[in-house]
Symmetry: C2
Subunit: 344 residues, 2 copies
């Protein structure tokens, strides 16, 4: 089958869903919305930034003069820890439950003008350590059963502050997307007594066409079922249910892979590349979750240039995600990009 | 349960998925991206528009001097009818199938400067008739099993041309979103021998809090499980599997409801209100599909003003859709808006 010629659908065995691929459509002229470029000239400290060290936040709290990573409760969290436990039900068609949770913000560095691809591996390693600590601490609370770690980067992603940071939303329920992945992995585990992603990785390392790079403990690849134009995944070679299972070397290797992938991203259109990225891993509900093989996914919207993104609208909202460039083509473009940041 | 105070999750029985509602979060200040306003000053005929009557399209074809509705094959269709039938499979983890289909574009009116809320009900009725014709003609082809009718409106929705128009993507497979709705409706039908949406509608008409308006044949409401800030649905009062089941009066009533809803939308922020909208109905696979109750959904992204939209990123992409205003609050805002267009 010619993936770069014929419209086709691909199956995502992790979420049990499909994506429509229309490779011939990449030729279509673009007359639509053009995104604003991120302003790359930022000071190392911005007195108006509520994430910079020493500054005062909306609620009057003052950030400490942190030197690496700083984590605090989100001042506008979508989830609150003191929500009473209530349920609303009327037949089968009306069902709602209150949800308890915690929202955390992680400043990746005091330097307002850095982003992950420009940080040192040591600096990124401190972010990884903070994620593990947060996963452990939040996960230990009895009302927290799932911890979603993520980074929203760029104005085009609705991120209102360019200061390098990420978020954590931890909650009592297990959200739909990780739940789908859990169900698919559990079915595969029950059938084969093997990890779905370990088997997938084995084949991808043989096929090579979607692999971007690897280090001792991680593989970076464009998944076969990628939805976003330059979607990618970091998969640990060893099956681990959760990030807290990592050895110290594995944490270093994750920092290395995170940096290398985001450097390639920035180099693609020579711009600070926007994305939403996050970690899918085992819930913190006290169960062993042998089926889980945690992984780090990147969903970047840019398609053709620093200012033209893919819109997931119309058909995509109503029917099915759709992409205009094959995963193999995207992988070969990303693979060939240098690993030195274009600004250096 | 206080829907306007406490964070909670709501269940969507049509797609069997959840939405996180964080009503307290609507107070959060917005410092992020501001959208461009649509330029409302357009000529009735634009010589550079490839959808205007008499103009030449990218492929050299000349549009006729149409007077109401004009339908043609999309020059950059994502689906092609001559795709060979092929399959790629490697174990359980790699699965792809070629997909055949047709892309159509529907100009709603020759007037370049109109949009649905500014069109006459007669003009909109002609659009409804064209949809039914297309559904019948495309659906009759042996390689077409599903017909997705939709309208993408506004630059913020990736729509590259403000000329009033919609699209149809018709294909051999049944896309994920309508398939989810089909499965849920089929389960409900098997269990109760009743339409899920008819039962839902009955309760909503009693409760009233999410109903926007009704006419003889349709109800407009903000569904209990709405994801987008001002999401709405038009539901026919009579259970019909497909739009071709409508009587002539029902088609008129649909045109009336489509106009009334979009007038309210434009009046909300006194701007040409962007959205993706589309019809979910029975596949054209030759089966009766008694379970289906077709409906028309509207997914508009604007949240706080004509230039501030809701971003479905980060948590939403990785975990679960999330909204900051309750469906009831949105419904009460929309319900109270006048039904006369603000420009009149
Ligand atoms: O077909 P258009 O209007 O050029 O393109 C728009 O709608 C399509 C169908 O929903 C999407 O796939 C595109 O991403 C979007 O930009
Ligand atoms: O929390 P922020 O960065 O203000 O807001 C951003 O990320 C959130 C979490 O993904 C989303 O719910 C918001 O729509 C988005 O604008």
């Amino acid at each position: 089958m010619n993936f770069d010629e014929n419209p086709h659908r691909r199956y995502n065995p992790l979420t049990e869903s499909w994506v429509l691929v229309s490779p011939h459509r990449a030729k279509r002229p673009w007359q639509g919305q053009v995104e604003k470029l991120a302003n790359d000239e930022r000071p190392a400290h911005d007195p108006d930034c509520y994430l910079c060290a020493g500054n005062t936040r909306a609620n009057g709290e003052v950030n400490p003069n942190y030197e690496q990573v700083y984590v605090f409760d989100n001042d506008f969290a979508a989830l609150l820890k003191d929500t009473p436990d209530e349920k609303y039900e009327d037949g089968e068609l009306f069902l709602a439950k209150t949800e308890r949770g915690v929202g955390r913000v992680i400043c990746f560095s005091p330097a307002h003008n850095l982003t992950v691809p420009e940080m040192s591996e040591e600096g990124i390693r401190a972010v990884v350590d903070a994620w593990v600590d947060e996963y452990n601490t939040l996960g230990a609370k009895d009302f927290i059963n799932y911890v979603q770690i993520f980074e929203n980067k760029g104005f085009v992603m609705g991120c209102s502050n360019p200061h390098p940071h990420g978020q954590i939303w931890a909650q009592s329920g297990i959200p739909d997307e990780p739940l789908k992945k859990q169900n698919a992995q559990a079915k595969y585990w029950a059938k084969h007594n093997r990890s779905l992603l370990a088997d997938y990785l084995e084949k991808e390392l043989e096929k090579k066409e979607r692999v971007l790079f690897e280090n001792e403990h991680f593989v970076a690849l464009v998944p076969f079922w990628a939805v976003w134009p330059f979607e990618a995944m970091l998969i640990p070679k060893r099956k681990m249910a959760r990030i807290s299972d990592m050895t110290s070397e594995e944490r270093d290797a994750l920092a290395n892979a995170y940096k290398r992938l985001t450097v390639k991203y920035d180099n693609l259109f020579e711009t600070s590349f926007p994305y939403s990225a996050g970690i899918h891993q085992a819930p913190t509900d006290g169960l062993p979750h042998d089926e889980w093989h945690w992984h780090f996914v990147f969903y970047p919207p840019l398609l053709r240039s620093a200012t033209v993104k893919k819109f997931m609208v119309g058909y995509e909202m109503l029917a099915n995600p759709q992409r205009d460039i094959s995963a193999e083509k995207s992988a070969s473009i990303l693979r060939d990009l240098p690993e030195v940041h274009y600004k250096n």
